[in-house]
């Protein structure tokens, strides 16, 4: 993967041509969201586990269509729980979470709009790569031909078309994660939930996958909710970062990341980038201080 350093002016010029429609406007070199449609809403949501642990406390946040929002926080701050609840895999103890103004379970029952990428690739080892990618469509009763065609499209998108007939065990960790992302994309979801998908990968693989994910996000216009504990990753990917604190899990602050896309033009040592990293780190530290840690 070759990352070229392109002058910022050039990037802005290019972006003005290709990213002015939809819910985004280009303003002074930054992507700002305007009149965004509400996609996910957490309203006064709390989650208490049966053993009494408060995973989330009075969690309030709204995520607009087309956003790339990252939950950033220490382990045990309930960020994964919030994601699972958005997918209808866990119930709120009080308050509510709405996806497209509906209960997530209802959305799942009727549509393919929500997809989930776990930290582990979770591929079915007895199925070839293509049959793994086809799975969501197969379960919804999509015709075989249509499903295969769609699987080929998304496999090409993640650069694994040549490995369609391989078994998961023949792939590297990064490739497995690509298949997992392809599977999530195969159902053409409007909302993609990702729970620390790159945490188990090496730095090089992680960086190239981050870039690819951003490309896919821009191309497919999918809303992404991403969970990480990596500050750099959060700043590099997101339009907004929700910084969370633990014990009990609370939203401590929200940072708008006004860096232009595509971000491969941004060096990770860029001053502006570093400023955001510092800001996010400070917020994270503050949230730890509140707990008497750190």
């Amino acid at each position: 993967m070759v990352i070229k350093k392109i002058p910022k002016a050039k990037v802005l010029e290019w972006m003005a041509g290709c990213r002015t429609k939809g819910d985004f406007d280009l303003k002074e070199g930054h992507l700002l969201q305007t009149n965004k449609k509400e996609m996910v809403a957490f309203r006064q949501m709390s989650k208490v586990f049966s053993n009494g642990t408060v995973a989330l406390d009075q969690f309030d946040l709204t995520i607009g269509e087309g956003e790339f929002l990252t939950f950033l926080g220490p382990s045990g701050c309930g960020k994964s729980t919030a994601l699972r609840m958005t997918a209808g895999l866990a119930e709120a103890s009080s308050g509510e979470v709405k996806v497209f103004n509906k209960d997530p379970k209802e959305t799942i029952r009727n549509t393919n709009d929500i997809a989930f990428v776990f930290q582990e690739p979770n591929l079915l080892p007895w199925r070839k790569v293509i049959d793994n990618v086809v799975l969501p469509l197969e379960l919804r009763g999509t015709s075989k031909k249509e499903a295969k065609a769609e699987a080929c499209r998304v496999l090409e998108m993640v650069g694994l078309k040549d490995y369609a007939t391989s078994y998961p065990r023949e792939l590297s960790g990064g490739m497995k994660m690509r298949v997992s992302i392809a599977r999530a994309l195969a159902a053409k979801p409007k909302l993609l939930l990702m729970d620390e998908p790159f945490a188990a990968l090496d730095e090089m693989t992680r960086q190239s996958l981050q870039l690819e994910l951003l490309e896919i996000w821009e191309k497919e216009k999918t809303t992404i909710l991403f969970v990480t504990h990596n500050v750099f990753e959060a700043v590099y990917l997101s339009t907004r970062i929700a910084v969370m604190s633990a014990g009990p899990g609370r939203l401590s602050s929200v940072i708008d990341v006004n860096l232009p896309y595509p971000r491969h033009a941004i060096s990770r040592t860029d001053q502006e980038f570093s400023a955001y990293v510092k800001k996010a780190s400070d917020q994270l530290e503050n949230s730890l201080d509140k707990r008497g840690i750190g």
């Binding site: 993967m1 699972r84 997918a87 209808g88 895999l89 799942i108 029952r109 393919n112 929500i114 997809a115 989930f116 776990f118 582990e120 979770n122 079915l124 080892p125 007895w126 799975l135 969501p136 197969e138 379960l139 919804r140 650069g159 694994l160 040549d162 490995y163 078994y167 998961p168 065990r169 159902a187 190239s208 690819e212």
Partner: protein
């Protein structure tokens, strides 16, 4: 993203493994895997032949290998017939235990309520010694073939159930979530997730069950074997015991063991065919 270098390496690996000198490979494999067991067998057979000879043990108490071979050769037709019948009984018993065992497990696993209500009794039944119930089976099914098949089935049935159930219930939580997220129905989850991921467990159960079904058939023949060339190995052993034809008992026992090993290898082959492409237990290890 360029995958060409990975592709090239993959191809090279395949061609080099094909090119590898077969003769040399076989030699190494022979040294590593077969030489030890063969030497051990020769030493064992030699001791078995010489020790009874040295201490003057009569052949009806402890026959030598040559006595056993002689007995097998002279009564070959009897032995062959007995083996054939035992094979038939144990294969039918095994197939019944596999099919019924898997179906019952799937029904039990399909509902937690059913499983909780019935599984404890399945465990209690499992602890019943089959030898103790065999006479009841004879009363119900009459002496002969049917009763023996039922005994072989009973003894092979529970390993299949307990293994299959364990497999069906040990599906990865995230995989299960993934299927829920795609609105998979209960039976879609069963067919596309739980049964395939239980396959290694099911195969382990079948491997235990196949050798047990031979034990079951022989035990059944002890209790319910009938003469007239339909008795099987168990019946042949009881008759030989009355006649103090110890060499023939040994021949029958060895035939039973050979049967067990072949049966096991056959099931193992099927298991490797099914799991070979994906499960660690059945994959060829990389050198």
């Amino acid at each position: 993203m360029s995958m060409s270098s990975a592709e090239a390496a993959k191809k090279e690996m395949i061609t080099s493994s094909k090119k590898g000198t077969k003769g040399k490979y076989f030699g190494v494999k022979f040294m590593n895997y077969f030489l030890g067991p063969i030497i051990a067998f020769i030493i064992f057979a030699a001791l078995w032949q010489t020790v009874p000879l040295l201490i003057g043990m009569p052949h009806y108490i402890f026959p030598k290998p040559t006595d056993v071979i002689n007995a097998a050769v002279s009564d070959w037709s009897l032995l062959r017939q007995a083996v054939q019948i035992t094979v038939l009984e144990s294969v039918i018993g095994f197939l019944l235990s596999a099919v019924i065992g898997i179906i019952v497990s799937i029904i039990l696993a399909s509902s937690k309520i059913i499983e909780r209500s019935i599984y404890p009794y399945a465990i209690i039944l499992q602890t019943l010694p089959v030898v103790a119930v065999a006479p009841i089976v004879v009363i119900w099914f009459g002496a002969g073939f049917n009763a023996i098949v039922v005994v072989a089935f009973l003894i092979g049935f529970f390993p299949v159930i307990s293994n299959t159930l364990m497999g069906l219930n040990s599906v990865d939580k995230e995989m299960d979530d993934l299927f829920s997220l795609y609105n998979a129905s209960k039976w879609q989850k069963m067919w596309k997730l739980r049964i395939p991921s239980a396959m290694p467990f099911i195969m382990a159960g079948l491997k235990i069950s196949c050798t047990l079904s031979i034990v079951g058939a022989i035990v059944g023949e002890y209790v319910a074997g009938v003469g007239g060339g339909e008795g099987g190995l168990g019946y042949a052993i009881t008759v030989s015991a009355i006649q103090v034809n110890t060499s023939f008992i040994f021949a029958c026992a060895i035939a039973g063991a050979v049967l067990g090993v072949s049966f096991y290898l056959l099931v193992n082959l099927v298991s490797n065919k099914i799991l070979g492409s994906w499960h660690e237990s059945a994959m060829k290890k990389e050198q």
